[in-house]
Symmetry: C2
Subunit: 522 residues, 2 copies
Amino acid sequence: MAQSRKNFVQACAAIVVSVVLNGAAWAQNFVATDTQSVMQSINDYRAEHETEIIKDFAALLSLPNVATNLSDMTKNADHISTLLESRGFSTKRLSAGGAPYVYAELLNPSATETVLIYAHFDGQPVQEENWVYPPFEPTLLDAPLQSGGQPVNIDDVEGDFDPEWRLYARSAGDDKMPIIALVHALDALRENGIELSVNLKLLLDGEEERGSPTVGRILEENLELFDVDLLLFCDGPMHQSRQTQLVFGVRGGRTLDITTYGANRPLHSGHYGNWAPNPIMNLAYLLTSMRDETGRILIDGYYDNVATLTELERAAIADMPDVALLLQDELSVHTPEGAGTRLEELITLPALNARGIVAGGVGDKGRNIILSNATVSLNLRLVPNQSPERVRELIEAHVSEQGFYIVHEDPTNEDLRTHQKVAKLDWRGAGGPGLRTPLDHPMSLRLVKLMRTISPELIVTPSMGGGLPLHAFDTQLEAPIIVLPLANHDNNQHAENENIRLQNVWDAMSIYGTLLATFGEM
Amino acid sequence: MAQSRKNFVQACAAIVVSVVLNGAAWAQNFVATDTQSVMQSINDYRAEHETEIIKDFAALLSLPNVATNLSDMTKNADHISTLLESRGFSTKRLSAGGAPYVYAELLNPSATETVLIYAHFDGQPVQEENWVYPPFEPTLLDAPLQSGGQPVNIDDVEGDFDPEWRLYARSAGDDKMPIIALVHALDALRENGIELSVNLKLLLDGEEERGSPTVGRILEENLELFDVDLLLFCDGPMHQSRQTQLVFGVRGGRTLDITTYGANRPLHSGHYGNWAPNPIMNLAYLLTSMRDETGRILIDGYYDNVATLTELERAAIADMPDVALLLQDELSVHTPEGAGTRLEELITLPALNARGIVAGGVGDKGRNIILSNATVSLNLRLVPNQSPERVRELIEAHVSEQGFYIVHEDPTNEDLRTHQKVAKLDWRGAGGPGLRTPLDHPMSLRLVKLMRTISPELIVTPSMGGGLPLHAFDTQLEAPIIVLPLANHDNNQHAENENIRLQNVWDAMSIYGTLLATFGEM
């Protein structure tokens, strides 16, 4: 009886939330009208300038951009600054000892709010030999490579470009596209006499693929530039359904390698088998003590600080396309972890993933020895409000509780002789916390409303499962952070044959132009 | 009360056994006198021929002897046959498609018993760059290498060679020494007019380091040659205490690689962490279900066929030097596995050793993925009367019981899609059973008695922990098998800088000569 009443109350709350997210309050007609006409103007402009846009994009993509090559990164920054300045931006080069960042602003004296857009122009290192077309010679194909796509000469195209065509180059999908889409969206607005409804600021990162090591200092040293009302973080692939998506959170992370020990040297498994401690087994016992078969973490207190989902977040998850069965089939997964909870909710919880384990050899590399140590690498995914420091404390307490003497450097013989079990805990980096911008923040509500007029099937995602370098922004800026991914989900980011689907570039122009033209007036 | 009576009975049995092993019955004076005078003759002869013996040994060691190089192995066999024929042996080359074996016999018409001695003349492959002195240029050093030993020119030595000097070369310790010790022991007997008390047969293996793949067929096809009363298996290092040792058993073995599966490809640990099954965790659960923290195997029925130790075996173990504390200190082991049972007994029990585990990377090679599979390599040590086939059945039943669908080839996507957990079991080779020759076999009793007159501190070892290729002999021959190791324990066998301590050569001559001169007359 009590249970069924509780269910009823929850159901009512979900209905209310659903109304808030989807209902009348989100889709006032005047906005819809405005956005529709702005979108139309942008699309018309784009249709007439496709060759120019693609060539502009190709020129930017032809600049090698590995963050550690400062000379290359300076060329990229120069090129981008020129693109921006020719659209009236004032630009500034920011750096704090790493690769350059490009800051730019385009202010509208009549606007009262400021939107900051983040993207990055560095790319993952390339292994040229794995690419079908050279990574810095952008190549337009008339279909995805794996579907037999053939090169198209851009100058030979008459009429529209097929929006399913793809441009292949490093950083096509991750993450130079926002820069090109933005400047051409601004061209479209100007040609149509449409003003920006907000002040626009850009921060273009030159070292994201290295983990943006200096972004914290850059923000800290230039705080006056970043007094903004909303940060739109434009990186990452879109949802597999190809629907436009807003993401309101990320998971944080920490990496921990744990090494367990046997004797101080490998021993013959015949002479010493049953006597010498086996570090692989000790590691297996430790691992199974940390996590159950559904992925639930068994460490005392681990979930104590975890922020539970709000009703709005639960409702948003319920509204997301359910891709579980498709994924299970595609990935050949009979039973996912998580005891039946859906993927989109599971990734709002902390995860403890054994990402690698190495000791001795298997197959032809196996030797009949009892090893002297074994190492597992753990990748911890953190969510609000877990702190990386607290997680470390809890894990170390757990490992101790399992009877291990903890060291942080290789143990001495004396350490091994005087303790029954020894574990080395190698915390690799300080890690970062997770982040979720509340769905009921005024900026969240307004952005969702606007985006639904552009894209009625908008997917509102409370949190993605992975991380993004948002922590420095979250610490330094007052503004809410919302992630707006624009690249096709199958863009092969980080790998060979990275690419962007042309329709994603066109959509990005539409979204940027419409948003900048209307957001400040909603 | 019942318990204390049982203890008393056990104590009495141990005393009886101890008397049998150590007491008057084992050391009749006439044998002692005989053996002492024979030993003296051999030692005197040796003292006058040390340079010659060492040069003979060096000549044999200078022949490269990796079993897969048949031309090299033929040169070794020719050289050895010449050595033997010049001592009156008739020799025969045996082969069954692999490297050659040398069979030799030296018969005494008045002897009624036949002793077969086994040794091998092939060696482990060498990595020349790791050797301080070239592996096939035998080098005499005036101390162990790690104690700063310097080369000695054999021809420059006047008077006796220091017995602590060492000869460095591949196969010095494993296992060409018995051949040289034997032929020179026979020279010593002949020069002193001492007859052999037994017929002597030799089987010298040319492919032991490859696992003697054809020895079974060689025995089977030449059974008439091997109708012997005792097989003395001369391979392996002696006890660390440097005491002479007889070993009456070995453990058998099987190798099994187990692979567990997650999704059919590696997945981003952010996007899928808490959802994608983790193969490392599945493997950890499986491993911990197979074995407890003391090394006790938890698989149903695993100990059912295990032969318990006889009272004589228990007494022999009790008499062995207890090296546990020394080992624990040397190897930095705080608490061995085995719940307090001593090493020498633990190695008479089955062992399940995780010898390697590999999945993804650790340290700088770690990547934030959930792997698609993980593999552990297990090395199973078997004891009488476990059969490798039964062990396979029991393990497969256990893995099934843990919820795994078992495959023996890589699983298909369909296998993964239709089963919650899948494990590939890769049985690497058929394996072999363990073996223990009863300590109360008449040949065992007689050999122990004789050896104690040569070496009063003789160590009687019911079983070594490792394996030796005895299975084919055990299957084909009627004779009991006893292992007589003669190389120094620190001979670096299989590794670089393999060596033999000269005293071990001298002792081997003594043992062989005395044994052959007196064993048949005891």
